[in-house]
Symmetry: D2
């Protein structure tokens, strides 16, 4: 009798713990997804990369053709938009894929993480589109939904979220003040100017909208009510894509992470502010709501990336061509220890992610902020360690493009900043934990009083050793 | 509305994940246990320690009186023998407390870990008695059960497991050859001689039996069939308790971890070999079965010890008397970071333990060996880190007997050897993981072939970057 | 041709670096010291410990007899008071041993660290006496020198430094306000009251003086001018030794680290304030001067402790009786890696200590504060790691009194608080380093301007990748 | 009075230790070098990079013009070929720069590491040319010296060392068997065929010679006598540069690390085998001699790279534009702690390098193998940690090309494989250390016997605690 395919990916202990919480539909989708990954996605990776031109210009102008056929297949299999966990998309064209719990999706996303670039795109589960769809579904006007949300749900267009500012310490979002959208009440329009960077997807030829965080009410006494989200057509007058930024030398074409200047871009208030006129001043409120599950999605996929790195490591150290000094690499005790530690670290981190996902299911994203925060600063660091060990057993090949490992490393390294650097999350979690002290102290004080009473009743003093 | 008391001990994410797997009885017992800990056990700790004499002789001669009343209370509350998870004890006097799943007990054991010396004794859940009871229940004769198991289940006596040999590298159990029990067929008796050490509980005045691993069939071709388990009365002729060994500077009176010499101790085969005559040669088989859940019990309690250390840390850094340079300790960023890391590490480790416990529930102890092995080398090291941080924020007080922290540290440090050193488990887990390679390679090879086919079909070669 | 004996203790690279800085006398003393260690000190360790009574009372009442003969031998060999590096003691009876550079003494102290309890006592190089002698030599009146310094230099008496206060966060010395010495101008005397703890050596029967930090001028506007150092006879009316504190269960008899209450102890100003009347208000000034080299002495010896732990480890893993699964422990790759890392870590840390010692020689203790601070937070943590590895390869024996390792661990652990916790030194060194920024920025700005000029001159713009 | 400029780069403690070992000439050169770095090299970095074309073809075809003028300047200043420490080059044209001790050069190389790409090239101190020059000077024929060594010493040409084989675990050099040079005795020529990769510099238009390790005597019973070093013109018939490999996403144009196929390349024995006919079979002997100092040179520069990363970090965290939540980054305790740890780690690692360099000076490269091995596995890992911290404080900018940090990271990461992976060196050092056991055991046994005698003489037994 053959083992359940999920056990090729997820530790048996974790599966034993969560299996009772999986619906039959989710179990069915999971098996389909695994088969799709193994039969379609992973075999298509090489073609996907080969279809991106090495030419510095052309690589930004087209999209690998294989992606289209994979997307078609994913739709047929019902593996489309699996990330849609809430009720916001019900009844919406393209919203059929949803309805999984966050816990169920967590496992799917981990599996997709084994092909972290291609699988999310092929199934329409990739950032920043997922977060942008959430924003539009919850806060967009009907016209905005028709124009952007429907084609995003169908995977026909792509989008950017334009927040981080050049030269500004953007991890404190209240610092984001240099991009302004000045209202011309006569025309009911805004004039948007600003200098952003790290705008993921802004290089993509399919991109038709940037959701730009901009100050529309600079004098509002509350720093959290000054901003709005503005929808900008990247082909509009005044939008300049300065350059794709590189990450450890990688440009991530054709999506890219771009430096973008908005120079007096004209935007109509009703159609161009998320939520229309009523959305003015709600930028902060909306981005706060956007971040929670998105952070966790990254962590879910990261478990998959780390697992794939370990799979690659395992095969390398078992390769008879890689014997040194008469021994397989896997015969070295330090290699075996690295494997065991990687196994333990991945298993632990996965469980953290699953618990956080489950918490969103029972308490909502806000109620799960602590669990999400812990995964946020734990999971990428763990994965970097595993990938680094995998690189090391490859010798020089491990830093070259002949393995996906250095690219994994570079991508994961960005997660230690993206959506807030580790340090911010660490301080928040630590401070949250300190809030337990009052209750702890009350209990400890009572215990101490009770213990003194018992000592006295027995005619003893506390032992001083 | 007040929060569920379990959330004072277990992270909300973990609880959300496991709560659906808890029976109503287990939920009820959990609430009772928490109340028992806070109202009885923790307030009695000081008295318990004060009732152990500082005198080097007397401290081995009596048992703190408070223990008796706590045991009585635990029985009344139904918090007795909660560790009995299997069916081996059903219908047996004293076996009523059982029936929890390993997952349910894992949470109970963690809670007890907040008072890791006293709570397990007060509820009859402490090593080595639990493992010894398992041995007797599964392999003992009826007479042996009557004589030893019943009073053990009732908490009336204590016992030792006498395995590790002086001067022998005992982590490889096949090395254990210096303790022999030579058969005198005429008298149907054994003459036992050997030099053991680290025999926990051998100093205890309540102890009436050592279960001794000894070679009874030295010429058996299988090194795993040479040993038997022999029941020895510590007051018998020829038994010498040489000394209690210290762990760092602690002697763990009155239980102790003793060096013991058995010098021609006479034992009747029928009554004195576990399982009687039929038990001869089955020593290895029995000790293998004994180890799995026991290892996990240590890990469960260890999560509780680490949690208590963090609770102590949190209170110390919030103490206004401990300000330095005008700041609370908790206002230092590095302290906050230590708290966050401790929180994250405890939460991860707990989830590992829970997954392993769940695995025992679904697959049995043997099926869960990998999960247990991972917790075995992960959890104590994690807890040592947390305890060390807690010591550090106390300054010199942190290494003194004015906090329980150095004792926690010393106890936890032994877990990195007990039941096999970390290194052995690490190598086993790593090698187990390497067994996945064959299957991995088959899938990877297929993926690579498919990908070559796709490249060819598209007239492309694999991008060489 | 045999190797220089120093190479048994110090890495050849380090010795190559410092050998040209050693005087002939120092080289000669070094060889004598090594021989004294190997022929006398190390063989006497067991006797020394066996001469301390296990009886809880008697162990505080006498001093191991072997110490006396070792001290006599050390004096004969000229290995007495080697720590006296400055000129303060020249011409003083007992001051003959000095005159080594701090660099030279650093190596001697490391060698002594191989027997960290016995060797410093046998050679009169142990804390807190060394620091106390410095205080008396620099700041004491002639009468104080005659009474205390001369017998200290001769090893006839012992002393304590009484600073840390019970219940006070003493790592911020300005918090030390609860011990007061109120002046009675009529009698020219002080009445000293306070509650101190961690007073090393206060349990020792040879101790005849506590140097107590006490507030004598509570209203002085400068918090650094309120304290004086007061000389107190431990047998005086009002001095109560409450208890020896334990460190991980160890009491360090007969020296001890004691809790001491001073209750209206009368002290004459002229004879009892360090420096007499002129010393009033100079407590802080004096303790600052006292700390620098003392911190480094601990680090020097710590290198020796770590080295001995590694020596013990090396022998254990080569012991044929400790084979497991058919292999020597030294045949396991992870053990070999632990050895290599230990070697590298000890070698690095030693070099840090040597550089700091050399810096004191060239710049004085104040000029070397940064180098000393770095060693202070680096060396004990390093040594703890090495000792922990050594414990681990011993299995359970490694935490027992059958090896010195757990005692090493406990002692070293205190160094992470003693003379200021690691955290304080880390923050100081980090802030000191930040002072380089102004100069760095000036240079970087100039380089940037020059580079812009070069780009312009070549008609190029800075490459934006 | 201004501080010595070296103290801007090297810790005062280290300088105090080594300054007495510096000649006046070395001190003078050091000051000149620092000025050259600050006035010329560092300001030219941007121009250098801007002069490399972004075009995928052209970037391999020319060399930045600024390099020529920097080289000219370096020659004028006497800062040319400083690495020439031995006597091999005396009296040779271009060999004038040499004569520094390895210790003196270590400091120079660290300073150059602050501009690790440009400074070594500008001063003709860069790998692989330095090692190749050593090979030619020691083993080349006069004709080979004239043709290759003289222009290399003058910086007129560049060279490659072609050793690592494609698909072969090359860290065990005896595996290198796939590149063969078959002798045609009739023509006294070789026919070289093989597939190499990671051939640094093979992309460079200035390169006129590859020194290729090839099997010339496959049947020699000693696996260390089968190889020879063959000089190959990269423009010869049969040499194919397949591609530059990337390191992370960097191609290191115009030098590159190339995959190279040699397909029946004809080479004359007398002119084309290093050492001519007499050099046949000496390949292994020569490469062994080549590796020692080269490994250390990498470590020396690595200290400089880490130092520059720390300098960049310090400036970033002090930048008022980078405040978050109202605080400078440098006001966060964790940032300060990272700085302190970086300072301590760099200082320790530098001292290791200096001790190893000194050891080469006193014992030769062979005698210093242990010291070199320790630096080899210690220094790059240390530097990666420092660079990673520097990246982290930059947020996303830290992984982009707007700082040199990710490039530093990628380059340093290769050092954990280059010239043997860390693991090989770690095992070697650990095993070397284990060779001390015999001597240790003899001494320990003697000490134990002496101690037993002392115990007996005093009528005591060893205390059993």
């Amino acid at each position: 009798m053959s083992e359940h395919p999920i056990l090729r990916y997820v530790s048996a202990g974790a599966w034993a713990l969560i299996e009772p919480l999986f619906s039959d539909r989710a179990k069915d989708l999971l098996i389909k997804l695994i088969d799709f990954m193994e039969s379609d996605i992973l075999p298509s990776e090489a073609l996907f990369h080969s279809q991106i031109s090495p030419d510095p210009k052309k690589r930004w102008e087209s999209v690998p053709a294989v992606l289209g056929s994979l997307q078609k297949r994913a739709k047929e299999l019902g593996l489309w938009n699996l990330w849609l966990s809430g009720g916001d998309f019900q009844g919406m064209a393209g919203g059929e894929g949803g309805g999984l719990s966050n816990l169920e999706y967590a496992v799917m996303a981990e599996i997709m993480g084994h092909s972290a670039i291609l699988a999310p795109q092929a199934t329409n589960c990739s950032a920043p589109d997922t977060g942008n769809m959430e924003v539009l579904a919850r806060y967009g006007t009907q016209a905005q939904k028709d124009k952007y949300l429907t084609p995003l749900l169908n995977g026909e267009i792509r989008s950017s979220f334009s927040m981080t500012e050049y030269g500004v310490a953007s991890s404190d979002a209240t610092n984001l003040g240099n991009t302004t959208a000045t209202l011309d009440p006569a025309k009911n329009s805004l004039s948007l100017s600003g200098h952003k960077w790290w705008i993921t997807g802004a290089g993509d030829p399919r991109n038709i909208v940037h959701i730009v965080l901009a100050v529309t009410d600079p004098k509002n006494p509350s720093p959290h009510k000054r901003h709005s989200l503005v929808l900008v057509d990247p082909r509009a007058q005044g939008v300049k894509i300065i350059r794709p930024l590189t990450v450890f030398g990688y440009d991530d074409a054709p999506e890219g992470h771009c430096e973008v200047v908005y120079d007096n871009v004209k935007v109509d208030v009703d159609s161009g502010v998320v939520g229309g006129k009523a959305g003015l001043g709600r930028g902060f409120e909306i981005i706060q709501a956007r971040l929670g599950p998105g952070r966790l999605h990254h962590c879910m996929r990261t478990i998959g990336i780390a697992s794939r790195a370990l799979d690659i490591l395992l095969q390398r150290v078992s390769d008879p061509n890689r014997k040194t000094f008469g021994k397989y690499l896997k015969e070295h005790g330090t290699v075996v220890a690295d494997i065991a530690h990687s196994r333990a670290e991945i298993d632990q981190a996965r469980l953290l992610v699953l618990a956080a996902a489950r918490r969103i299911d029972t308490e909502g994203a806000k109620g799960a902020m602590q669990d999400i925060g812990i995964t946020k600063f734990t999971v990428p660091t763990m994965a970097l360690k595993v990938v680094d060990r995998a690189m090391q057993v490859h010798g020089a090949e491990g830093v070259s493009a002949d393995t996906p490992l250095p690219y994994f490393y570079a991508s994961l390294r960005t997660l230690r900043y993206a959506d807030g650097p580790d340090e911010v999350h660490i301080q928040q979690i630590g401070k949250k934990e300190l809030k337990r002290v009052e209750d702890l102290k009350a209990r400890t004080d009572k215990i101490r009083r009770d213990s003194e009473r018992l000592l006295q009743a027995n005619g003893l003093t506390r032992a001083k050793l």
